[in-house]
């Protein structure tokens, strides 16, 4: 199958103009604060787990995959950050990395029809549980820190991103745990398809907190281990191929989702992947790289088995396991796509090839995205160095 010639499909210009393409991305992850750090970390297969600071108090697990050096005030300045939740801060730092260069100059154009859609699990559990603790334990039940209230709204991070960058287009938050990154991507695809936005900032985010850790720990199903948790935010710029202002890194050929209604995640993943491949118009044999969510659950194992049965064996070894980032919950599916892009960036043979990402969530959602990896150097005005933050 390997050819020294570039496949025509690797050329962004060969795509139908309405094809959704990824033209930039950023990641704030356990590998570091930037897309560059993420890409380097993924390619090296670096371990990210650390012993958390004692300030977290007692935790159910000795290690966690935290974003290193994530000092909110240092990164975002003193104004408006004193009471900011970590989820919002992760998202804002990722949005800066997406839209700006290292000097803070805007490198992605936006306008009144630039949308934002962010996938989450349940927002900042630290914020909401602290709010409720105050309500239960203070002298009066409304003795709660009013300044923290706005950050407890599930749509705050996406709204704050809009405020920070002046984005007045459709602004949406979707919830779906590990599948939320794919739900967000599909949301952006749909709304752009209906002409509601010309460009989207799309991604997903999860924060680590003691509250999140204990809830995840107690939610574990019998037989599953207590999860090694991760956190972070991954964002993309997506545009239509015909109007893209920046070189396309990948085309989104299909995003399919499904619900496992029979407690049989393997069958649900299989059905979802088959449908996604069919919609993308590619065969399972064509899949060059596949990245499952690697959730530390029976569903995660079933997901892996389903992909193993469906896809070429080497596709599942192209990208190091997402386990290295910990269970990043809502951030996971976005990080999975970014991991493929990171590996592809270092492999010229990847251009034109098919990548597939799957996700399974505790609540029963299952998702699959099929992408065609593109060679951004083939695009007009290509600036591969500017493509990742």
């Amino acid at each position: 199958m390997t050819s020294s010639l570039k496949s025509p499909a690797a050329t962004p210009a060969a795509l139908p103009p309405e094809t959704l393409v990824i033209t930039g991305w950023s990641a704030v992850s356990p590998h570091g604060l930037t897309g560059r750090a993420f890409a380097a970390g993924v390619r090296s297969g670096a371990k990210t787990s650390v012993q958390p600071d004692e300030a977290y108090g007692p935790l159910p697990s000795p290690e966690v995959c935290l974003v290193p050096g994530f000092d909110i005030k240092g990164l975002l300045g003193p104004v408006g950050t004193a009471k900011m939740d970590r989820l919002t801060a992760l998202t804002l730092v990722a949005s800066d990395g997406l839209l700006q260069d290292a000097e803070g100059n805007r490198v992605v154009e936006t306008d009144g029809r630039t949308g934002v859609v962010l996938g989450i699990s349940m927002g900042s559990l630290e914020n909401v549980t602290n709010f409720l603790k105050q309500s239960y334990t203070n002298a009066l039940p409304f003795h709660v820190d009013a300044g923290r209230i706005p950050f407890g709204s599930l749509n705050h991070a996406a709204g704050a991103t809009a405020i920070r960058h002046g984005l007045t287009g459709p602004n949406t938050t979707v919830a779906g745990g590990r599948v939320s990154g794919l739900l967000a991507l599909n949301y952006a695809r749909r709304l752009m398809g209906q002409g509601r936005a010309t460009k989207y900032l799309v991604g997903s985010a999860e924060e680590f907190s003691a509250a999140h850790a204990w809830i995840e720990h107690t939610a574990v199903l019998p037989g599953d281990p207590s999860p090694l948790l991760g956190e972070g935010c991954g964002l993309f710029v997506v545009e239509h191929a015909g109007t893209a202002q920046r070189p396309a890194l990948a085309a989104v050929l299909a995003v399919e989702t499904r619900v496992d209604i029979d407690d049989d995640p393997g069958t649900a993943v299989t059905a979802c992947v088959r449908r996604a491949l069919a919609k993308a118009g590619v065969t399972a044999d064509e899949v060059w790289a596949a990245v499952p969510s690697a959730a530390p659950t029976a569903a995660g194992r079933a997901e892996h088995e389903a992909l193993t049965a469906l896809l070429p064996a080497e596709a599942l070894t192209k990208v190091p396991s997402m386990e290295l980032l910990g269970d990043t919950s809502a951030a996971a599916a976005t990080f999975q796509i970014q991991a493929v892009l990171s590996v592809a960036e270092g492999e010229p043979a990847a251009a034109g090839r098919i990548a597939l990402v799957t996700a399974v969530d505790r609540d029963g959602a299952v998702g699959c995205a099929v992408l065609r990896l593109l060679d951004p150097n083939l695009a007009p005005n290509s600036d591969p160095n500017g493509a990742t933050a």
């Binding site: 409720l132 239960y136 009013a146 209230i149 287009g169 938050t173 979707v174 599948v179 107690t218």
Partner: protein
């Protein structure tokens, strides 16, 4: 069922070839009535859902009124999924979805493998359960002393997936939308786009929320909780009452609805989304006005075609003044009648605009305009005909349903008569 109406006049601006989307089933759980019949009666009668809170301890708050759903019987509607698999918001969502598909005359065999969107909007999801978990931790002095049953069901994504499980619909996109108090309209809009795109023929959309301490303490802290009743657009309004419930609507492509001879309540003509990008919690006149204009454009509807506006109308000083100004910005000196169903329902958060959309559908179906109750004196800052206190019979063809939320999220929905009604 209402009498046959003349076909709707062609509306300008509707792109040729765009798929039409209609509402064929409604499921409502509210503090003023459950099911289409009771909910319609409640709206017509101007019933108030305000009652003493039973869901959490209100000691120390100095007030204890909310618009709870009384006597909710989840087992009437939820047959398959164990009730413990979801919190009260999830039970509302599933029950309303069951009601909506029953109302639409869709059997499980009809749904089955059909590709569909299930999109539930919510503000707080199962935050009541999160409150219980926090209580458990405090009581035990141990952060690990949490009930696993609750820990597993708190994520908002479950509100949509649990409907798929109950209705045995595996082939669905389960997109829970958490755009706070505008989430219901967002979800209906998403269903509209999914059907317009041609990718699905059916979508179950709406919103659900349950009364919880979080919302009550939050609005109390903001000084936005009325001590007695909700008086939207009134000079002496004092704030909201928190509320709860669910509204789920069956959205269907017109061809699918016609092919199975379904009853059509209304047509989903369009919607608009705008983001203020200005303030984390304050409503924004320009953002709301822009959302209204986007919705009218999407629907291909002229301003003078709107028969009434179902306002966001929370009853806070800030919202009602700002929303009124935005409405006047768009409509000029003679705006349509503008009513606030939150005067009856309280603020049911993520369910609010879904219940508002159902109210609009029922107004079209039954040719009446629901009232704004508790109204004494219209605020000069809100110079609107709010249809005070008594519903009126009226010719209702096209209706606008407003919603706004923290984080500057505005979603405006336009519904209209499906003219070729059989």
């Amino acid at each position: 069922m209402s009498t046959a109406q003349s076909p709707a006049a062609p509306r300008s601006g509707t792109p040729d070839g765009r798929r039409r989307v209609v509402l064929t089933g409604l499921g409502a759980i509210s503090s003023i009535g459950t099911g289409v019949e009771e909910y319609t009666e409640g709206l017509r009668a101007g019933r108030s859902g305000a009652r003493p809170i039973t869901r959490f301890d209100t000691e120390g708050f100095g007030q204890n009124i909310a618009c709870e759903v009384p006597d909710f019987e989840p087992e009437r509607w939820i047959h398959r999924v164990p009730l413990d698999d979801m919190g009260r918001a999830g039970q509302f969502a599933v029950a309303a979805a069951r009601m909506a598909v029953d109302d639409a005359g869709l059997t499980e065999a009809d749904l089955g493998e059909r590709q569909a969107v299930i999109s539930v909007g919510t503000t707080d999801g199962e935050s009541h359960d999160i409150g219980v978990l926090v209580e458990q931790e405090i009581a035990a002095g141990d952060p690990g002393a949490l009930d696993p049953v609750l820990s597993r069901r708190i994520n908002a994504g479950r509100l949509s997936t649990v409907i798929a499980r109950e209705l045995r619909m595996p082939n669905v996109e389960p997109t829970t939308i958490t755009t706070a108090c505008a989430a219901g309209n967002y979800s209906i809009g998403y269903g509209l786009d999914a059907i317009r795109s041609g990718e699905v023929d059916i979508a179950l959309c709406g919103g659900a929320d349950a009364v919880c301490r979080k919302a009550f303490a939050l609005f109390k802290r903001f000084g936005a909780l009325t001590p007695d009743v909700v008086r939207p657009f009134d000079r002496n309004r004092q704030g909201i009452l928190t509320g709860e419930g669910a509204g789920i609507l069956v959205l269907e492509s017109l061809e699918s609805a016609l092919s199975r001879g379904a009853h059509i309540y209304a047509e989903v003509l369009g919607y608009g989304l705008s983001c203020d990008a200005a303030h984390a919690t304050a409503p924004n006149r320009d953002g709301i006005a822009r959302g209204i204009r986007l919705a009218l454009d999407d629907a291909g509807v002229e301003r003078d075609e709107i028969d009434f506006i179902s306002a966001h109308g929370t009853g806070t000083k800030a919202n009602d003044k700002t929303e009124s100004a935005a409405i006047l910005d768009v409509y000029g000196d003679s705006p349509p009648r503008t009513v606030a169903v939150k005067s009856m329902l309280g603020h049911s958060m993520g369910a609010a605009s879904a219940l508002g959309a159902i109210a609009c559908s029922l107004a079209i179906e039954n040719q009446f305009i629901p009232p704004t109750i508790n109204h004494v004196e219209t605020d000069p800052d809100c110079p609107l005909d709010v249809v005070p206190n008594e519903a009126i019979d009226a010719e209702v063809r096209i209706v606008e349903n407003n919603s706004s939320a923290f984080a500057g999220n505005n979603a405006i929905l336009i519904l209209g008569t499906y003219g070729e009604r059989v």
